[in-house]
């Protein structure tokens, strides 16, 4: 059962990845691109989790956690930059 479900999930998440990437390239505004980047981080976490289940290895958890944290900090820093023109006030 899992052997058939995981490839389908891979396909769906990869499609999601491509759609977000398309939005990142197309824009049209800076907030759109940041939102696309943020979504790409989350999609990457989804791919990593799927990989972890498929390979039966818990080692990808740390990578997922780091991407989640760095992604959030990156998004906040970029938004701050748009709001103030400066990251550290």
């Amino acid at each position: 059962m899992l052997e058939t479900v995981i490839p389908i999930a891979y396909a769906l998440v990869s499609l999601a990845f491509l759609l977000s990437f398309w939005r990142l390239l197309r824009g049209p505004d800076a907030p759109d691109r940041i939102l696309a980047l943020d979504t790409l981080y989350v999609n990457t976490i989804a791919l990593l989790v799927l990989l972890g289940i498929q390979l039966g290895s818990a080692i990808y958890f740390e990578a997922a956690l780091l991407i989640a944290m760095m992604g959030f900090v990156g998004t906040v820093a970029l938004c701050k930059y748009l709001l103030r023109g400066d990251i550290i006030e």
Partner: protein, 109 residues
């Protein structure tokens, strides 16, 4: 039994992740696009992470709950990023389908 539960969780997660990005690509203005990734994608990845937690708890001895940490983190940070992005978009006067409220964020102090 566990297999079916895992499959359902993984499929739901993947479908929600896909729909979130579909919304990001398909909808017409920034403020509506914001909804897809904030809710659908967050729940989708949450489902995948819970599937992972269940999988590792069943496969190995002892419970594996550290995936819950990433889930919690994502559910806490997603609305914060969304709020900041909306604030930034209002500040930059991004094109919207409907009238936008005034930007009350005074220029940098």
């Amino acid at each position: 039994m566990i297999d079916i539960l895992l499959s359902v969780l993984i499929l739901t997660g993947a479908i929600f992740t896909f729909i979130g990005s579909l919304g990001l690509a398909r909808l017409r203005d920034f403020y509506t696009r914001l909804h897809g990734p904030t809710k659908a994608t967050t729940l989708g990845v949450g489902c995948l992470l819970i599937a992972s937690a269940v999988y590792f708890s069943v496969r190995e001895e002892g419970v594996s709950l550290h995936e819950v940490l990433v889930t919690l983190f994502l559910f806490i940070t997603a609305p914060v990023s969304a709020h900041l992005l909306a604030k930034a978009a209002l500040h930059l006067k991004v094109r919207s389908l409907v009238a936008t409220p005034p930007d009350n964020d005074a220029p940098a102090e």
